[in-house]
């Protein structure tokens, strides 16, 4: 191999090796920033604390209806629903629909809800308010 070819190969080798090392350092810097500035992006730990009372109260094999004032069509509504499902599992969380009326219904609200109207509309009775917008209802016969 010619002298210039060897130099070219050495340069490429150094560049590729340093790119690998630089990639690792940049990734580390990125994750350090995430840890410092935006840990727990979806606030799962907060939701676990918020829903701890419900988790304790509901049987593990329950199917639980879900009502909320944050519509599922919005990204926030999806986050609330899926995080709640994750925290409640192995219980199954389902959206309340006319054809689907499980015995237990979880209310997950950002604003203070009108409990009486919910009870009338969904034919449920409030079992307990856990505070911070979390309510557990039971379906009335």
């Amino acid at each position: 191999m010619s002298q210039s070819g060897q130099w070219r190969a050495w340069t490429a080798l150094a560049a590729a090796s340093l790119a690998g090392l630089a990639g690792a350092i940049l990734y580390w810097a990125h994750t350090s920033r995430i840890l410092r500035e935006e840990p727990d992006a979806y606030k799962i730990a907060e939701q676990q604390a918020r829903l701890a009372g419900v988790v304790e109260m509901l049987p593990v094999d329950a199917t639980v209806g879900y009502i909320s004032d944050v519509p599922f069509g919005k990204a926030d509504g999806q986050v609330y629903f899926f995080v709640t499902q994750y925290v409640l599992a192995p219980r199954l969380l389902v959206e309340e629909k006319p054809e689907r009326r499980p015995r237990w219904v979880l209310g997950n609200f950002l604003k203070r809800p009108d409990i009486e109207q919910i009870e009338k509309e969904h034919r449920v009775k409030l079992v307990k308010s856990f505070g911070r917008g979390v309510y557990l209802f039971e379906r009335t016969p």
């Binding site: 790119a19 690998g20 690792a24 580390w28 840990p39 979806y42």
Partner: protein, 488 residues
């Protein structure tokens, strides 16, 4: 913490099994063969225990005691067989020599190894940061993979929630390798410690790196393996997604393992081929048991292997060897079939069907949307343009050039065809139901690196030409016309 015990026993069982089977014995340097066994052992052990857990769960026998008992029995049996075989080899009057061909060594490989080790330590610390920031992983981890693990790990019949038609937006028909494995560890430990999915994700990343470096060291050269390992670190999207705890990184592992084992099979002597092909098929089956994309991979890989082997070795051999490959795929494919019968159809691609894809392909805005997503995600794959994997690969290709020995042609052709066709499949289905390309790129990244570095001229040939020519009878410049049946 207790969840780490069943995790480690699964990996240990896989490693013992690989140690017994010795898939790379005599194929190259001893350190590379051991590293390959370690890398394969981790992923294959996880795959096997996930499959067994699903069977135990569906049959209603998955309890902590049964899982731990099964693990102990499997480990004891594997250890006993290993010791017995070792002792028999020692007592044998005529020892069977397992000689590795002496390979030329680039004298500065130790620098590459030191750089790779340094980069790995930094990346692992970054992963620790990421896991500390988001211990439950990112969106799909808690909305799909880990939530299904919690269903499967629950008491009584709660496992049925993982495949319930009521699980409308959590894809109850998605395969269960990752969720099943995490659930198995949680069930045995009796809790749902986030350490289990975090450690599983890290293990898949490390196993991928081990298989990539080792396979290239065995097939091409140690420097090729080490350079490929360093290039992995430039894949920002790939490295970041490890701690997202999605199924894409395990899937990438199984893609890589399947093609690497098939490549080793092409290079191996005839009597070792069945074992390597069964293992390659098993990896492809595990890919199908990991994610729906794995089903596409298994089909494409099977066809590409058969076609390449027919082209390079002849029809008869290709049929026989493809049957070995297919036999290896069976456990994964059977389980996927079983799951698809139990669960409702929920995959957006399947629901969109041919009609959805045809509609998407007919709409120019949809095509542009997909192309723009490909370009954007490809650009973002490296953290900066200067540290983008494509930049590093382009510099290496320009300086070292490609040179493919004839013995590696079937593997390189098959691997390149698999990468191209699977990616083509992803593009087609994205026209019907869009899926982020960042994850598709991550799934194919290690396999792409394997194919690239198989074809790239190794440093040993450039800097140690005398040693390389002495050990490589089929030089890249040698031009001879051979019959089609003897192309390999």
């Amino acid at each position: 913490m207790l969840g780490l015990i069943p995790l480690l026993t699964a990996c240990l069982a896989g490693c013992l099994l690989m140690r017994m089977l010795r898939p790379a014995a005599g194929a190259g340097p001893g350190w590379a063969a051991s590293l390959l066994e370690l890398g394969l052992g981790i992923g294959f052990g996880i795959g096997l225990s996930s499959m067994l857990f699903f069977v135990l769960t569906v049959t209603g026998t998955a309890t902590a005691a049964v899982i731990l008992l099964a693990d102990s029995a499997l480990l004891a049996a594997l250890a006993a067989i290993w010791f017995y075989r070792r002792r028999r080899r020692q007592d044998a009057t005529v020892p069977v020599p397992v000689e590795s061909p002496v390979q030329p060594v680039f004298r500065y490989n130790w620098i590459l190894a030191a750089l790779l080790f340094s980069a790995l330590v930094i990346v692992l610390d970054g992963m620790r940061n990421q896991a500390a920031a988001d211990p439950h992983g990112m969106w799909d981890a808690w909305a799909i993979w880990n939530v299904r693990a919690r269903f499967l790990a629950g008491p009584g019949e709660t496992w049925r929630n993982a495949i319930s038609p009521l699980l409308e937006r959590t894809h109850p028909d998605y395969p269960l390798l990752l969720s099943g494995f995490v659930a198995r560890c949680w069930k045995a430990a009796g809790d749902s410690d986030t350490l289990v999915p975090i450690a599983t994700a890290a293990l898949f990343f490390l196993a991928t790196l081990a298989v990539l470096v080792a396979a290239l060291a065995l097939l091409r050269s140690a420097s090729s393996g080490l350079l490929a390992g360093l290039t992995v670190m430039t894949g920002f999207t790939y490295v970041s997604q490890t701690m997202w705890q999605y199924s894409d990184i395990p899937l990438a592992y199984y893609y890589l393992a399947a093609v690497a084992l098939a490549a080793l099979a092409w290079k191996a002597e005839e009597r070792r081929k069945p074992l390597l092909l069964v293992l390659a098929g098993y990896a492809a089956g595990c890919a199908a048991w990991t994610k729906n994309e794995g089903l596409l991979f298994a089909a494409v890989f099977g066809c590409c292997y058969a076609a390449a082997d027919w082209w390079f070795s002849g029809f008869g051999k290709a049929v026989r060897r493809s049957l070995w490959l297919g036999a290896g795929m069976l456990p994964g494919l059977i389980l996927v079939g079983w799951l698809k019968m139990l669960a409702p159809v929920a995959d957006p691609v399947v629901r969109a069907g041919k009609k959805g894809i045809a509609q998407g392909a007919a709409q120019s805005w949809r095509r542009q949307f997909v192309w723009r997503a490909i370009a954007r995600n490809a650009g973002e794959f490296g953290y900066t343009p200067a540290t983008h994997p494509l930049a590093a690969l382009a510099v290496l290709a320009a300086a070292l050039r490609f040179s493919l020995p004839r013995a590696l042609r079937p593997a390189a052709v098959c691997g390149a065809a698999v990468v191209g066709l699977v990616f083509g499949g992803y593009v087609v289905v994205s026209l019907g139901a869009f899926t982020p390309f960042g994850r598709f790129f991550s799934q194919l990244f290690p396999l792409f690196l394997l194919v690239f570095f198989l074809a790239l001229r190794p440093l040993e040939e450039l800097f140690e030409p005398a040693a390389a020519s002495a050990t490589a009878p089929e030089g890249p410049k040698k031009k001879t016309k051979k019959k089609r049946s003897s192309r390999a």
